[in-house]
């Protein structure tokens, strides 16, 4: 499900089934050198999480990307997010990101880090198959966590 008004009624009545939160973590780098790849990473992350939502619509609640500045203190952000996430009773929380800095933040559990693939020059069919390939790498991690 998406974090939108329409889906919330269903979420609230089916909480036992929708037991997993997915939070995309998105670094904004607006420097001249970083802008383009930052936008590409954003596109990649959002396509991937949208596909994931489609596959697991009835079990996950996909949040909008949490976007933060390059200089943001990841540890602080992760603490604040965890506290907020605990207020809802999810059994599982996944964070998904292309930002390598999260690899050194051990406090945050279940961070799926994926290197972004620039898809802007791909035609539709090719992009679709690349993204589905990416999805196939992620799915088993969810199934494993749930089993």
């Amino acid at each position: 499900m998406h974090f939108i008004g329409k889906d919330m009624d269903q979420y609230l009545s089916q909480k036992d089934y929708v037991d997993t939160a997915v939070v995309p973590l998105l670094q904004l780098d607006l420097s001249e050198a970083g802008l383009k790849s930052s936008a590409g990473a954003s596109e990649y992350l959002q396509s991937l999480t949208a596909l994931l939502e489609k596959q697991f619509k009835g079990r996950i609640l996909l949040f909008p990307p949490v976007a933060y500045a390059k200089s943001t203190d990841r540890l602080r952000l992760s603490n604040e997010l965890s506290i907020e996430m605990k207020k809802a009773d999810f059994k599982h929380v996944f964070y998904m990101t292309t930002d390598a800095e999260w690899r050194s933040v051990e406090e945050l559990k279940n961070v799926l880090w994926l290197p972004a693939i620039p898809t802007e020059h791909m035609d539709r069919n090719f992009k679709q198959s690349v993204m589905e390939d990416q999805l196939r790498q992620v799915l088993p991690l969810f199934l494993k966590e749930w089993s």
Binding site: Y17, K57, G58, R59
Partner: protein, 167 residues
């Protein structure tokens, strides 16, 4: 003092007009929607989308067939790729929606090794027979929806979705 400075009274006037406008829009909106909606729905449901799946390659074993169309969500037009599970029964093509009737995950044919001739939903282990019939004791409460499907110049074309007619 410049002439186009907005006096307090004018400002209040503008604001009130603004609020009034909102209220009028609020009253009009339901009526407009009522008038426009059925037309839109027909347009979305009527057409067949040609896929690149050859019809002659379809067997009795369901395969996933993707189809892409443009979807208008308010003012935002986007391309959406959906899929169907397509198989052959006698000389007829059957296309089932992969959307689980429990809470909407995507089901897979033979997704569970223990039930190789059923559709399986990975979210809460929902299962369906090949014709879409939900299996009692698993969470889904109804059969998978069915797509209209036809052959166009040797290729599979997918049409509107409707409730299952096979079970």
């Amino acid at each position: 003092m410049s002439n186009n400075r907005v006096s307090r009274r004018q400002f209040l006037g503008y604001t009130l007009t603004g609020v009034g406008g909102f209220m009028a829009a609020g009253m009009l909106m339901p009526m407009v929607r009522f008038a426009v909606d059925p037309v839109l729905q027909q347009k979305d449901g009527g057409d067949f989308v040609l896929t690149d799946q050859r019809a002659e390659d379809i067997t009795e074993e369901p395969v996933r067939v993707d189809f892409t169309f443009e979807q208008t969500d308010a003012w935002y037009v986007s391309e959406v790729t959906n899929s169907a599970w397509v198989y052959r029964e006698g000389d007829k093509l059957i296309a089932l929606s992969p959307v689980c009737k429990h809470l909407g995950c995507t089901v897979n044919w033979a997704g569970d090794p223990e039930h190789p001739t059923q559709f399986f939903c990975p979210c809460h282990a929902g299962r369906y027979e090949k014709n879409g019939q939900n299996i009692a004791g698993t969470p889904p409460l109804g059969p998978l929806d069915e797509y209209l499907v036809e052959e166009q110049d040797g290729y599979v074309a997918i049409g509107a979705v409707r409730p299952n007619t096979l079970v």
